[in-house]
């Protein structure tokens, strides 16, 4: 039986160990963890084989099996990921601000680890190494709860990682895995507020909703992306088609893929046939309003719910508007505050859109697919936040930290 309070106590010890660990030691441990993943790939692949076998027996879909399956290449990628994290600069301890008050108090705002982070995710064992690496580098102890279908794989990976940590003299308390598959334990974990400072769900919209509903721990919501591209009447139409083609088809199952187009009426006839031609190469299904269907008679009629749907598929909804204001109102109504784009050559129209669209990332003349920690140059990413508290958009190492104020006095008291 899992004792979550005991795990919480261990994590508290782990965070204190980590808060004293210099960057070099953290980096050495990450490199060692990478090495040990490769050394022990046979055990990990064998554990993953067991997960795969029960998954097949239970009739898991091919798509989910693909996410669950490990291979030598995938283990090598996990190791490479840890090495990349080791090579990133350490932001912990950074002086973010410093100021002095008239009474002589000197106040410094210092970046510190968040403390203990909980990650709840689905049956993707590569997330285990990845989430550990990022949290660890930012100085946080981590408690992982992965999808139960990946339990054997996760146990094997965590064991290898903990052995590597212990080889470097670091307590395994900094990395713990909940192995109980009882859903009640997961819900109890979401309420382990006494010990856990931040909970990050990674996975489907359903998983994230369940965490938001049940958690008393502060949550960062990640991932859902109903991303829009607005093609303005003053757009370069070749550029627009190229950006849409990229944002829709380059990778369909990701949160920064484009799901919905907003088209200025005046360019319907010049643009839509060109767009259809390029999207036909991937058999993208178009679902449009009446004014779209006047130009593209084959287009499926769009329902109201189409505009609110993240398809993650070769489907695209289309809406016509008469002004940029209408485009902004439509997008702010249906988007998930993830990534939206305007294609236009008019800087005033662009500035209005960039200012008024309420999203983590708003693009002018570029694909929404760039919303990504690596593409932003953060060197790593734990997810894309779609809420406004704490972190918005791609979350790298800094977004896994907090701060504290350190105040230097010489006897000051308040009058």
């Amino acid at each position: 039986m899992t004792n979550l309070n005991e795990m919480g106590e261990r994590a508290s010890h782990g965070k204190r160990v980590l808060s004293r660990l210099p960057a070099e030691e953290k980096n050495r441990a990450l490199d060692m963890a990478a090495k040990r993943l490769l050394d022990h790939k046979e055990e990990i692949l064998s554990a993953n084989g067991k997960d795969m076998e029960s998954a097949r027996n239970r009739g898991m879909s091919q798509g989910l099996q693909d996410r669950l399956k490990l291979s030598e290449d995938r283990i090598a990628a996990m190791a490479q990921g840890l090495r990349q994290i080791a090579a990133l600069p350490d932001c912990v301890g950074e002086v973010m601000e410093e100021f002095e008050r008239p009474n002589g108090l000197k106040i410094a705002k210092i970046r510190v680890p968040m403390g203990v982070i909980g990650i709840i995710y689905e049956a993707r064992p590569n997330v285990t190494a990845d989430a550990f690496g990022l949290c660890f580098k930012a100085g946080n102890a981590v408690i992982l709860k992965g999808g139960s279908d990946a339990l054997e794989s996760n146990k094997a990976i965590v064991q290898v990682l903990c052995e590597a940590l212990e080889e470097c003299g670091i307590s395994g308390d900094v990395l713990q895995l909940i192995t109980d598959v009882d859903r009640k334990v997961t819900v109890e974990f979401m309420r382990l507020k006494k010990y856990v400072d931040l909970l990050i769900p990674r996975g489907s919209a359903g998983l994230i909703r369940s965490v938001v509903e049940n958690s008393t721990i502060p949550v960062i919501e990640t991932g859902t992306g109903n991303c829009h591209i607005y093609v303005d009447k003053e757009a370069n139409l070749d550029m627009a088609a190229n950006i849409i083609y990229n944002a829709k088809t380059q990778r369909i199952g990701v949160c920064n893929a484009c799901e919905s187009l907003v088209i200025h009426k005046e360019i319907r006839e010049a643009f839509l046939p060109k767009l259809k031609e390029i999207l036909d190469s991937h058999k993208v299904e178009l679902r449009g309003d009446e004014e779209i269907r006047e130009v593209l008679p084959d287009c499926v009629p769009a329902m109201e719910e189409d505009y609110g749907t993240e398809y993650l598929d070769y489907i695209l909804s289309l809406k016509t508007v008469g002004t940029v204001e209408e485009a902004i109102a439509h997008i702010n109504k249906y988007n998930t505050m993830h990534s939206d784009c305007i294609v236009t050559d008019n800087p005033q129209t662009a500035e209005k859109f960039l200012k008024e669209i309420d999203s983590a990332c708003v693009y002018w003349n570029a694909s929404t697919r760039f919303t990504d920690g690596f593409e932003f140059g953060f060197g790593a990413e734990i997810g894309i936040s779609t809420q406004k508290l704490h972190a918005r958009g791609p979350m790298g190492l800094k977004e896994l930290t907090s701060y504290k104020y350190v105040i230097y006095g010489n006897g000051q008291v308040r009058t």
Copy 2:
């Protein structure tokens, strides 16, 4: 019957209005609101009189009546508060970071309003004007739910504020008050996630706990302060006594007051009699462990729960330790991550304490009473955050904002 979805829609409209409002117009509206509070003080005092009468009839305690009662002076202070907020610089629109990627994408991180903020508070009508002023200046629409004992006062204040806004051509959608006193409505409000971006509870530990338990909206916890002062063996004992006297007695009912002392054994005999003498002037009750009681025989024995209690009263718990490590472990176990202090002349001991204590504000040789937005120079304060996500310690205007990334391209697509 309160229709929260309708209020949410109005707030969404309000936040869009505000996102387009220049600083001058916000400041003009705040000054007008201040003026109108003074112009209409009779109506406000008369509404407050009704609240006071029912409070007396229901036998409300004197302390709560004091918080509920308005006077000409208190209304003048509310008006003055709004004028001070108007005079603060506007942080919305600030470019927080700017960088360019190798593919030519230019990325700017821009400070933006949070959106819609909900505030749940107790029967203190001055919070109504105060919370509105701060949220409004930071560009946020606000939905207020005040204590039902202050309902008439709050209605009068909100009406005056909304009239002032409308005089300035600003929709009253930016400021709404929930007037339904049914607790079910309050719980439903805590789940109005579709419209509300951030919920801030202000008040007792019980109120805050209830919000954390029930809310699906991101919450910032404020206020509970079990603040410690550690007197090291190398402390200047006069300075220590002076700081403790200030932190304990200058104002007892506030979250940054000192509740617990940690005393190095070696200085017990030199320090405790001196301390007792100064605290006796306010009849502060001391509750200590055995080693304290060896020196101060009149001291009440401390129970385990004393160390975890925020007294908000003339009571102080005392614990002896043999090392700074023990002091740190004790404080990290019992504190509420608010404010803790070390008094010592030894810089190494101080640095260890400042680094390892996990609190929003850690002091070296100064009173914990300085944890305050005004004392920090923020010019205003919505509360003191005791969580690590988003904001820690005193929260001013910046802490009521979020950010977004604006990305400028010229046709870039991802490969």
